[in-house]
């Protein structure tokens, strides 16, 4: 019995001593993910802002597909189910989980990041930080993206609000971004803030202030969501869908009748040996968008030419057809296009504006909003009997207690 007791004790020692010899052994390791507290470091601020930019690009990339189909910029020619519904004007909450989440992540990351940057750098550091200026501009664009495309605003798990809440938030961030950009002397960010603020002021009905902001942006200015060949996450996935998978075609849209317009570049895709290639569905003729010809093609967020068109719309709303025509032609001249004659009346001018603005912002996630606001004003009726915005996603509805009935 004593022998058994000794061997029992010895066996337990075999069991326990190795563990006691190295408590480190039992630690979980998973290099890669960064713990939240590690971000509270001044050296990390540039990466935080790059992350904001990356999330905004990802959100734009997600949303191009939905909005371009819903707004008749492209047609569905592939095998994905949801875009087939978008093409028919049906946007369901369960189909927009990714789009909704990506856009809100872009907003939250930027807004939350600004608070973190303020805390890390302190007021003095914040006031002199180009990164802080850019963070505010990115927060403005993330809010504009949401305001222009979502049916409702939901902020940080809160209740449902009017989508224009995003425009007022965007205006605040653009204003702050403009102030900081001017403090640090960053002209690009200044124009980006002005162009962004011009648009969201216009959408809030502040057309005069919008026109004043827009007028300060040079016609050749472009501020873009950045894409790259560097990594899969940075790729312009819209290029992959339209150049590798052939999911979305210009065929069967109003733009299929527009030829030789540098603002609306597309071409018929032919198979080796001849014959028009069909889209991924196997039967829809494939007219391929050429605006984003590469995996790393950037997507404009604001452009000087859009500012001219925005000023033109402001002029039109004032009834000033002369200035309207001049601004439209300034924009056309930038693309090497012939000027147009002054429209005979405002109705004709609105048609011109519809086309010109549509061409300028083609495939830039802007057209869906233009159609929505013009529909509400009784102008372009393309969205009649179609969904006019992106609903609150099913996942947000299910997970946000403030949205439960």
């Amino acid at each position: 019995m004593r022998y058994e007791r000794r061997s029992f004790v010895a066996a337990l020692a075999v069991l326990l001593l190795p563990a006691a010899a190295c408590s480190e052994f039992t630690k979980v390791t998973n290099p890669g993910p960064i713990q939240d507290s590690d971000l509270n470091n001044p050296d990390v601020v540039p990466a935080l802002v790059v992350g904001m930019s990356g999330d905004l690009s990802a959100a734009i990339d997600d949303m191009i597909e939905l909005t371009s189909i819903a707004a008749d910029e492209l047609a569905h020619g592939g095998s994905y189910t949801a875009p087939g519904l978008y093409y028919r004007g049906i946007i369901l909450p369960e189909d927009v989980n990714g789009v909704w989440a990506g856009a809100h992540r872009a907003r939250w990351v930027a807004e939350n990041g600004i608070l973190r940057i303020r805390e890390i750098l302190g007021e003095e550091g914040y006031e002199s930080s180009a990164e802080a200026a850019r963070a505010n501009v990115l927060a403005g664009y993330a809010n504009r993206l949401l305001g222009e495309n979502m049916c409702y605003a939901v902020i940080d798990g809160g209740p449902r609000e009017d989508h224009k809440v995003h425009f007022s938030r965007a205006e605040d961030y653009f204003t702050e971004g403009l102030r900081l950009a001017e403090r640090v002397g960053n002209a690009t960010l200044r124009y980006a803030a002005l162009a962004g603020r011009a648009s969201v002021r216009a959408w809030q009905g502040k057309w005069d202030e919008a026109a004043q902001d827009a007028a300060q942006v040079p016609t050749n200015f472009v501020y873009e969501a950045i894409f790259s060949e560097n990594s899969g996450r940075e790729n312009n996935n819209f290029w992959i869908e339209t150049h590798v998978r052939l999911e979305y075609t210009v065929y069967n849209t109003r733009w299929a009748n527009v030829h030789g317009d540098p603002r609306v570049p597309w071409d018929t895709l032919y198979a080796p040996g001849g014959g028009i290639r069909n889209g991924q569905d196997g039967f829809t003729p494939y007219f391929q968008q050429k605006k984003y010809p590469e995996r790393g093609s950037d997507v404009p967020l604001s452009k000087g030419t859009e500012m001219r068109v925005l000023q033109a719309e402001a002029a039109l709303r004032r009834g000033d057809l002369t200035q309207f025509t001049a601004l439209i032609n300034e924009q056309r001249g930038h693309y090497g296009m012939d000027p147009i004659p002054q429209p005979a009346n405002e109705d004709e001018a609105w048609e011109v504006l519809d086309f010109e603005r549509g061409a300028v912002v083609w495939l830039e996630v802007r057209r869906f909003w233009d159609l929505r606001r013009w529909y509400e004003e009784g102008r372009n009726q393309f969205l009649a009997n179609r969904d006019k915005c992106i609903p609150i996603s099913r996942n947000e509805m299910n997970s946000n207690p403030n949205l439960h009935e």
């Binding site: 010895a10 075999v14 979980v28 798990g157 001849g274």
Partner: protein, 982 residues
């Protein structure tokens, strides 16, 4: 402290103590022999394959085909010999051995479907006799394995044990299936059972397969069926408590063959045959979805437009007979204190479509060394290397099956190259230029030390190491139509499991009461290293590497390490060797638990009552055991699931950035599955009838559910929370009967019936998509199909639709396995057959949906024409068209929906048939036995499912949800083999 120094210190401690504990004992100097024969009572048939061994473990052997045996080097004096064979009662007898002489000892075994004295180890502390075990335990013996034409280990398990679901998923050689024991008990964590090989835990999950295969590998299949002695399966928490965290999906333990003292016994097996596919797709389609016929006038779309494939092989079919070659050799033997089993094998299996193959080869060495009567060592080592090339398959735009089956609506066309210039001209052979490979290396080694310092006390220590490396590569060659500059992607996964497993027990006899107290501890360290990289845009043709690409990208790199450690105590009280009560407690810690979460206890309690041991029990029912068990086990969350993290990303053209990753949950713990099971095992009429019945009821509490925070709060990944409850319940019945039993012939039949009824009781309000259109929702089976349901499918009317409606479960709710074996002429001729029915579940026929979308689903051609006529104004065109037909075969895209193609997936398959003939000794001089076997696999399928195959699923879309999406159906195989034992 570094891991290396830590291991050095730990190893030194272990070795020092182990060596210090060894007690010297004198070696036997003189030996003799024991010989005899083993026969079945009643029929008197010689029993081949019975294990005959000295009870003290010093020597043993296996009977030959004539039932005879010879044990060499037996210590002189009185020795106790035991004969054991699955399906027969164990017999123990004593004989006196004289130096240099042979003692004769014959045995007669009584057939019994319940072997109450058989030793089992899975789910027990150390080892136990079947009579002592209070939970259900399934066994598959080497006899069953040798008779069946199994391709791999998953084939061994399917249909042969109750409560086991094996879904083949695909006909791609080299890919693995899905295994479930008693359904799915977890929503977010793996439901795969733990796999042990000779006491060593190996990688139990499915792994990624080649990028274009859309399937997964099953490392379990790296254990060759030829090496397997037996398999023990315990299926639920009531039996797996002692395995603790990770074990709620059940445990499968494989025991490979071991050496036997005696002269070397060589076994050589050679086999050859073919793989093919019979008809593919719906019976109404004479072209077999353009796979069986790729040329001729029947290549038309629903409007009668012909098309042509200029690359269709000269045979007029894309299908072929893919040759199979097999070779396996082994030797077992031993002398004195050392026994060995060595084996090596090579398989070359080619698929039914050109370029698809899987080749694997490897070896095994099992050694046992018993230097002292109280101490023995065992070393079991195996290595398997596999190289598989997959057909681009499944939900893949560049897939071969997708493009061939879509006929004229495919992605690979060569306009103008066909006989008629205006005809749609496809070019599918180009698809096969893609190269999708999986190369695996799997090394498993284990060292086991058993020490019995006294007859009442035993210790067992097992150190195990499992190394698995899988390299998947997927190459689009330079000049490929859909990526002209080419691309190569490589995924490299290395997984290692280091295991330390100690069990000790001590037994006390107190009159009619016996106590066995057991204790032990286990530690498992899992490391998972994964690298994924892409290179694209090659300069020119040639065999590329990643750096051949002008653009290269490392897309994923992870190095994960998780440690699970725990200990247990168990007490078993036995009364008069007929009533056994067992109580145990397992306590686990896991490095993935949240910081606020401590150790996790898992209790168990079971009872076994051998009622047939009472004198009043009727003798016609020779064995009857009642049993009941309740126990718990768990599943741990993943590493870092408990912590708030950010993911490093690149943005702004290659600059470093961060994006939100995991919200974090410091209270995160494992989910716990509590199971209650009750049942009985009985054998009657001298083993003519055997019954094994179990009813089980599981409840998974604190189930880990991936909860969504509102996306407007920024963190998009689901965060695991312990908020769910999942139920599983079912019946398991095994019937085994000898229909005919004479001295020269025997006809046995086996029937396994299993049911599983699962339900997500509480998901914390979540609605959980698990991929492929499958969901887990409260109140429904886990997982299930939901969608638009046609409420009036058989009416001649427009379809009435119900949105977001429950359609049915994704996994079988009933499985019936039927096997029969007919032995004639004293086992000279043996016919073995296994059929399996799986039913109660659904699959989504996305081939039908996508093809009809393109007007190339043959069963819809007639309805398509009627719908066109109706649209053209013929109001009577739809007078005989049902709502289901109108919905499925719709020609207006607005009316099409994939949900209409979710169909009942009940099927019955003739899994295996084999005819084995034992050749007369004169034909193979010098051989102990020679067996010639002709066999077939997957010969027939009976099903009303209207897709390609009800059993397949695209594993890249989801490894949990199921959906058929242009996946190759399981292959039909014919094989001839010869096995010679010298």
């Amino acid at each position: 402290m570094s891991d290396r120094s830590c291991f050095r210190r730990a190893g030194a401690v272990v070795c020092a103590i182990a060596l210090g504990l060894v007690a010297a004992a004198p070696l036997a100097a003189q030996t003799g022999r024991i010989q005899g024969e083993v026969r079945a009572s009643g029929s008197g048939r010689p029993l081949a394959g019975a294990q005959v061994y000295l009870v003290d473990g010093r020597a043993g052997t296996v009977t030959g085909p004539d039932g005879r045996y010879l044990i060499l080097n037996v210590p002189v004096g009185e020795v106790t010999v035991r004969v054991q064979m699955l399906g027969y009662t164990t017999v123990t007898r004593t004989v006196t051995v004289v130096a240099d002489q042979a003692a004769t000892l014959d045995f007669t075994l009584t057939e019994s479907a319940v072997s109450l004295d058989e030793i089992v180890v899975t789910g027990t502390a150390g080892q136990a006799r079947q009579r002592e075990v209070g939970n259900s335990l399934s066994q598959i013996s080497t006899q069953e394995i040798e008779l069946a034409p199994v391709r791999n280990t998953q084939d061994v398990i399917g249909g042969r044990a109750t409560g086991v679901t094996v879904l083949a998923n695909s006909g791609q050689p080299g890919t693995g299936g899905t295994i479930r024991l008693r359904g799915n008990s977890s929503v977010s964590q793996s439901n795969a059972p733990l796999i042990y090989v000779d006491g060593v835990r190996i990688y139990s999950e499915q792994s990624l397969a080649g990028g274009a295969s859309r399937q997964r590998l099953l490392p379990l299949n790296d254990i060759p069926a030829e090496d397997i002695e037996r398999i023990e399966i315990v299926k639920g928490a009531a039996a797996t408590t002692l395995y603790g965290t990770e074990a709620s999906g059940g445990v499968i333990q494989i025991f490979t063959k071991r050496g036997q003292a005696g002269r070397p016994v060589w076994t050589v097996e050679l086999g050859t045959g073919v793989n093919n596919l019979g008809h593919v797709g719906p019976k109404e389609d004479p072209t077999g979805l353009f796979m069986v016929k790729c040329r001729g006038p029947e290549l038309i779309d629903s409007e009668g437009n012909p098309f042509e494939d200029v690359t269709c092989p000269s045979s007029g079919s894309w299908l072929r007979n893919g040759p199979i070659y097999r070779f396996n050799a082994s030797v077992r033997g031993g002398g004195g204190d050392l026994t060995y089993f060595l084996s090596a094998g090579y398989n070359n299996e080619n698929g039914a479509i050109e370029t698809g193959y899987s080749r694997d080869g490897g070896f095994r060495g099992n050694f046992s060394f018993r230097p002292y009567s109280t101490l023995d060592f065992a070393v079991n080592t195996s290595y398997r290397k596999r190289s598989s090339r997959f057909i681009p398959d499944g939900n893949l735009a560049n897939g071969f099956t997708l493009n061939v089956m879509r006929g004229p609506a495919n992605n690979f066309k060569r306009p103008g190259a066909c006989s008629t210039p205006e005809m749609v001209c496809t070019s599918n052979a180009e698809v096969l230029d893609q190269v999708s490979m999986a190369r695996t290396d799997h090394f498993v080694t284990g060292f086991t030390m058993r020490w019995e310092p006294t007859p009442r006390m035993s210790h067992r220590l097992t150190l195990g190491y499992d190394y698995l490396r899988i390299e998947n590569s997927y190459e689009l060659p330079f000049g490929f139509l859909r990526a002209p500059l080419g691309q190569i992607s490589i995924n490299d996964q290395q997984h290692t499991t280091l295991s330390i497993d100690y069990v000790g027990s001590v037994r006390h006899d107190l009159g009619g009461l016996a106590s066995t107290f057991s204790w032990g501890g286990q530690l498992f360290e899992d490391r998972d290293n994964y690298v994924s990289a892409v290179g694209r845009d090659f300069s020119g043709p040639g065999e590329p590497t990643l750096t051949s690409g002008a653009v290269t990208e490392v897309s994923t790199h992870s190095r994960l390490r998780v440690v699970n450690a725990g200990f247990f105590f168990q007490e078993m009280l036995g009364w008069r060797d007929r009533l056994f009560i067992t109580a145990g407690l397992r306590v686990d810690g896991n490095s993935a638990f949240g910081e606020n979460f401590g150790l996790q206890p898992y209790p168990k309690l079971s009872a076994a009552y051998v009622i047939s041991d009472h004198e009043w029990w009727p003798s016609s029912i020779e064995a009857m055991k009642l049993r009941a068990a309740v126990g718990e086990s768990g599943k741990a969350p993943g590493a870092f699931d408990a912590v708030r993290t950010w993911e490093p990303i690149a943005a702004d053209d290659g600059k470093p950035g961060f994006t939100p990753a995991q919200l974090g949950n410091p209270d995160l713990g494992p989910e716990r599955t509590r199971e209650f099971e009750v049942g009985f095992e009985a054998s009657a009429f001298e083993g003519r009838i055997g019954i094994d019945y179990t009813y089980y009821r599981q409840r998974t509490m604190d189930a880990l559910i991936g909860m969504l925070a509102p996306p407007s709060q920024g963190f998009l990944n689901r965060q695991l929370m312990n908020v769910g409850t999942i139920d599983n319940r079912g019946h398991e019945l095994r019937l085994d009967g000898a229909i005919l039993r004479t001295p020269t012939a025997e006809w046995r039949a086996r029937l396994n019936i299993s049911t599983n009824d699962s339900k997500a009781v509480d998901l914390g309000g979540e609605d959980i998509p698990v991929g492929s259109g499958n969901y887990v929702r409260e109140g429904y089976p886990v997982p299930s199909f939901f969608g638009i349901k046609i409420l009036n499918p058989d009416e001649i009317a427009e379809p009435i639709l119900s949105e977001e409606t429950y359609i049915g479960p994704s996994y079988p709710t009933r499985i019936i396995g039927f096997g029969t074996t007919i032995s004639l002429f004293e086992d000279r001729l043996v016919l073995d057959l296994l059929a399996e029915h799986q039913g109660g579940h659904y699959n989504a026929n996305f081939v039908g949906y996508q093809n009809n979308l393109r007007g190339v689903w043959r069963p819809c051609y007639e309805i398509n024409a009627k719908l066109r006529a109706f649209n053209a104004g013929d109001q009577s065109a739809l007078n005989d068209v049902t709502a289901r037909e109108r919905a499925r075969c719709a020609i207006d895209r607005e009316k099409m929906h994939s949900d209409f193609w979710i169909s009942p997936a009940d099927f019955t398959k003739l899994r295996t048939v084999s005819l084995t003939y034992r050749l007369p000794p004169r034909l193979v001089p010098g051989a102990r036995t020679a067996m010639l076997t002709l066999s077939g696999r997957n010969l027939f399928t009976w099903t009303d499912y209207d897709g390609v195959d009800p059993e397949v699923a695209d594993m890249s879309d989801s490894s949990f949800g199921r959906r058929e999406y242009y996946n190759l159906p399981p292959l039909r195989s014919f094989l001839a083999s010869i096995r010679v034992t010298f």
